[in-house]
């Protein structure tokens, strides 16, 4: 039983950053802007927030510091994504190229600033954020060890963001406008919606969430930040497409990816997986084969926003 709890706990470390970043990507793409800069924004968010943790950890520790870091990550991701929004909305630049530029810029910037300020590229931090067991909830049989032990406050924030994202997208006026700008901005404009504003909002939300995702990614994974998030920004893009730009499906696909990756990474330490006498190679292949199969079944009705990637031109109304 403890192996199952362990699997679920580890899955969270993979899934929550993917979920948050993919939800960010969803807001941008639903407004009509392709955002492949998620990787770069994650790096910026992680860089700024880990830098703040590094500077403040002598004065405060624990959840208070993590909350400050979360705010910094949100803000820095948002500021960085402004560049993408400006290029894609105001300058009507090719969104893929603008995103690529940000992806190339972010690690170089993080390395440069870290070296200028502290001499080395690597920014160390002490992890004082882990929650051994959530008071009360951690004691619930079965569910306690699964979701409320060996966890981080960011896991719950991720779930809250999921619910909020679903609500915003489908139950609010803003959500309707956002979706309309991604489907048919000409029509949206004709009924008085400011397409530029909505698209700015979409990109900024995606920047904030991707920045936060960067922080959530680094904290449980390492003891230092080294100007990389190991391609998880791109994986989040895959989760977004896999999740058909829909919060519920993004949630499912993030957990699917997370669980598959966890199994392939940890089978050697889990007795019942070893006892199955399945070849080691199979475990290594699991994430890829499972993805292929699920994509083959589910990709028939792709639901990408129709106007995604097309700069809005009033003249085409």
């Amino acid at each position: 039983m403890s192996s199952i709890f362990f699997l679920i706990q580890q899955t969270m470390f993979f899934s929550i950053p993917l979920l948050v970043v993919a939800l960010g990507g969803m807001f941008s793409e639903r407004s009509g802007i392709v955002n492949i800069a998620l990787e770069g924004i994650m790096i910026m968010g992680a860089f700024a927030s880990i830098f703040v943790i590094n500077g403040l950890q002598d004065f405060i520790q624990g959840q208070g510091l993590l909350l400050i870091a979360i705010l910094v990550a949100l803000a820095s991701g948002m500021v960085f994504s402004l560049l993408h929004a400006y290029a894609s909305v105001n300058m009507r630049a090719n969104q893929v190229i603008s995103g690529t530029a940000l992806n190339m810029f972010a690690p170089a910037f993080a390395t440069f600033i870290a070296r200028t300020v502290q001499g080395v590229k690597e920014i160390g931090f002490t992890n004082t954020f882990r929650i051994e067991s959530v008071p009360m909830l951690g004691k619930i049989p079965l569910l306690g060890p699964m979701f409320f032990q060996n966890t981080y406050i960011t896991t719950f924030i991720g779930i809250i963001i999921l619910v909020a994202a679903w609500f915003t997208l489908f139950k609010t006026r803003f959500g309707l406008r956002l979706r309309s700008c991604g489907e048919n901005p000409q029509a949206a404009d004709s009924v008085g919606i400011n397409v530029s504003k909505i698209r700015y909002a979409g990109v900024l939300i995606s920047g904030a969430l991707a920045g936060l995702g960067g922080l959530i990614f680094v904290v449980p994974t390492s003891t230092s930040f080294n100007a990389t998030v190991s391609g998880y920004g791109f994986l989040a893009l895959a989760v977004l497409i896999f999740g058909q730009w829909n919060p519920k499906r993004i949630f499912l696909s993030a957990f699917f990816f997370g669980l598959m990756k966890t199994i392939s990474a940890t089978y050697s330490g889990i007795p019942f997986l070893q006892d199955l006498s399945i070849s080691k190679d199979i475990y290594k292949m699991i994430p890829y084969i499972a993805t292929l199969i699920v994509l083959a079944i589910s990709s028939r009705n792709s639901q990408a926003p129709k106007a995604v990637g097309v700069p809005y031109d009033k003249g085409t109304r």
Binding site: Q10, N127, R130, F217, P220, K261
Partner: protein, 364 residues
């Protein structure tokens, strides 16, 4: 408004570069040069260790020094970086890593007036068919297996019987660390009369801190592994993160990593800085070991554990000195009995090492 923003941005960009150029203008050429391998100059591991040696020697002797980063990880790019260093006035160039073997093979003929210190490698043509070392190249190897041996020995002596080894890529130096670790554990187990030592053994295939590496280490700790020897650059940071969350212990690699995490109980070191320093000293004293390839081991204090910063329960400095001296004197053939790696006549897999008490499970 736009103009103002642009000017502010320009100033922000230029401030650090002004400082940087001020430093550089001090000299016109750079006598002592280093070319970096995969990873950066501040990797807290291989490159940094080498650079510290270069820097210290240059500072002590008031020499100009500089490092160059190849544009990509190819032999051509390495040779281009060497060329750049020579254009920049380099008389002696330090190149860390076995990836430089083919580059030095070419450079030793192209630049006969320049001297090279090649660490962890012997010049070869890139296909391992022709090996040749000229009088302007000094090649240094380390006996990583002895460092790993000491780490494995200390861990078992300290009471740990469930061990793990997580290497980065299976490059020769990493393999030697791993093999030595297994044999050190075996030696201690025989000495103490322990029945069984379990050892999980893997190469992660990268040198990065990733959730995969963290999850793997966490699963080992969760499954009972007490201490993991992490020999793979940043892989170690993921193992430390997993150790902190699961009450595990970590043995670091290359340099003393005790400052990186409270979970680090010791580090299997190789004294990159010191040997680079000595190599440079010999060059400037006029007795450069050109054409020589040597393996630096315990006898010259080139490998070992930092006992001052180690957090063992019972394994003491005296215990360490005893085993260390046994290695130095090769008492009862301990040192010569350690199998290095596949290329040195050893087996291809750690499972095939001749150990009895330690049971090795290789995880792919």
């Amino acid at each position: 408004m736009k103009k103002l923003g642009f000017i502010v941005l320009l100033i922000i960009i230029m401030i650090p570069s002004v400082f940087a150029t001020a430093e550089r203008e001090a000299a016109s050429g750079y006598e002592v040069a280093m070319i970096t391998d995969i990873g950066d100059i501040d990797d807290k591991s291989f490159n940094q260790g080498t650079w510290e040696g270069v820097e210290k020697f240059a500072m002590d002797n008031d020499l100009t020094h500089k490092y160059y980063k190849p544009t990509e990880k190819t032999t051509d790019a390495y040779v281009a970086a060497i060329d750049l260093a020579i254009q920049g006035g380099a008389k002696i160039i330090v190149t860390p890593g076995f990836l430089f073997e083919p580059a030095i093979f070419r450079a030793q003929d192209l630049y006969p007036d320049t001297s090279f210190i090649l660490i962890d490698g012997f010049p070869q043509d890139g296909t391992y068919t022709e090996f040749r070392i000229e009088s302007n190249v000094y090649s240094i190897f380390y006996a990583e297996q002895e460092s790993g041996f000491l780490a494995g020995y200390a861990a078992v002596k300290d009471g740990y019987t469930k061990l793990g080894f997580m290497g980065g890529m299976a490059v020769p130096a990493v393999v030697r660390f791993g093999y030595g670790f297994v044999q050190g554990a075996e030696y201690a187990a025989q000495e103490m009369g322990i029945d069984a030592v379990i050892l999980k053994y893997t190469y992660t295939g990268n040198f990065d801190a990733t959730p995969e590496n963290q999850a793997l280490a966490a699963s080992w700790f969760g499954g009972g592994t007490e201490v993991i020897f992490a020999a793979g650059g940043k892989v170690g940071n993921s193992v430390m993160a997993a150790a902190e969350a699961n009450n595990g212990k970590v043995i670091g690699v290359d340099v003393d990593q005790s400052a990186e995490s409270t979970s680090v109980i010791s580090s299997a070191m190789k004294q990159l800085g010191i040997s680079v320093y000595l190599g440079l000293e010999e060059y400037y004293a006029g007795n450069f070991k050109g054409g020589v390839s040597e393996v630096l081991d315990v006898t010259v204090d080139a490998v070992g554990l930092p006992m001052g910063n180690s957090k063992f329960n019972s394994f003491s400095q005296a215990d360490y000195d005893e085993i260390f001296n046994m290695l130095v004197n090769d008492t009862a053939g301990v040192k010569s009995g350690i199998i290095g790696d596949g290329g040195m006549g050893g087996p291809d897999s750690a499972e095939a090492l001749p150990v009895e008490i330690v049971s090795v499970t290789v995880v792919q």
